[in-house]
């Protein structure tokens, strides 16, 4: 996978079919009804049962609407993902307008994968020696892939724009 900064946003190229599939799962994770994901993305917020009930009644529905809206924005960029010239690898443009939505959606997806796959903190460490099943290892790889993309969007390594996307022969 490579990344280029273009005027329209961030261009992720050479995405393998497997990576493309992982990214297509982001909107679904964001809106998952699985109780483990919901507990992770909409955690208990107040100790007092009455206060928590108020929170669930008022704050949580707004958060759910926000997640759904974010899922739609991310889904638009994913729907525009296309094969690169001369090969089976894919190209994804994360537009400037959707970068914040992507940042949060990737975080949500990473948390969701962590919760869904019974991972522990030791799994998240670099060069972790914590035993993992093949399914857990796939989840760990996905979590790291999404972290790399978050890091790019956060500007951890500032990139100069290459100009308009149309100028690139991809």
């Amino acid at each position: 996978m490579w990344v280029a900064r273009v005027d329209e946003g961030w261009l992720f190229g050479d995405l393998s079919p497997r990576t493309a599939e992982i990214l297509k799962g982001v909107p679904m994770l964001l809106e998952s009804e699985d109780p483990r994901v919901r507990a992770c993305l909409l955690p208990e917020t107040l100790h007092d049962a009455g206060h928590e009930a108020d929170w669930r009644a008022h704050a949580v529905p707004e958060l759910e609407r926000l997640f759904a809206s974010r899922s739609t924005l991310v889904g638009r960029d994913l729907a525009a993902m296309r094969p690169m010239k001369g090969g089976g690898k894919m190209l994804l443009l994360i537009t400037n307008q959707h970068a914040s939505a992507w940042l949060a959606a990737l975080n949500a997806s990473r948390l969701a994968l962590y919760c869904l796959n019974g991972l522990v903190a030791a799994h998240m460490e670099m060069d972790s020696e914590e035993p993992a099943t093949p399914q857990q290892q796939q989840a760990i790889d996905s979590i790291h892939l999404m972290a790399e993309m978050q890091s790019v969007l956060l500007g951890d390594a500032p990139m100069e724009s290459c100009g308009p996307m149309a100028d690139l022969d991809v």
Binding site: L41, L42, P43, E44, T45, L46, H47, H51, W55, A59, E62, L63, L66, L103, A104, N107, A108, R110, L111, Y114, V120, A121, H123, M124, I143, A147, Q150, S151, L154, D156
Partner: protein
């Protein structure tokens, strides 16, 4: 018709008003997944903190497992908690001990 409050209602109302008057802490908790730079960015964005302050709070979360990132009235505390949860930071609210 004038309705006379029962002792329980009065006590509940008083307790509720006391809780409203007391400050609330907005607490961010550590999780093993969220990137440190992301936490810093969200704290800057939600509270308007300078990068140095946001980074200090983030490091407190990372090292101690939690950090009180804001203290104040309940209504504003709830707004902040909702914004932090909107970015998927593990956030809770608690009344400041008297």
């Amino acid at each position: 018709m004038v309705r006379v409050k029962t002792a329980v209602e009065t006590e509940t109302q008083t307790r509720s008003e006391t809780q409203l008057a007391r400050p609330w802490n907005v607490i961010v908790h550590d999780d093993p997944v969220t990137l440190m730079t992301y936490v810093t960015k969200v704290l800057m964005q939600v509270f308007g903190y300078a990068e140095s302050k946001a980074r200090t709070l983030m490091m407190e979360v990372h090292k101690t497992g939690r950090s009180i990132v804001w203290t104040g009235g309940r209504e504003q505390a709830e707004i902040y908690a909702q914004k932090l949860q909107a970015h998927h930071l593990l956030t809770t609210l608690e009344i400041v001990d008297a």
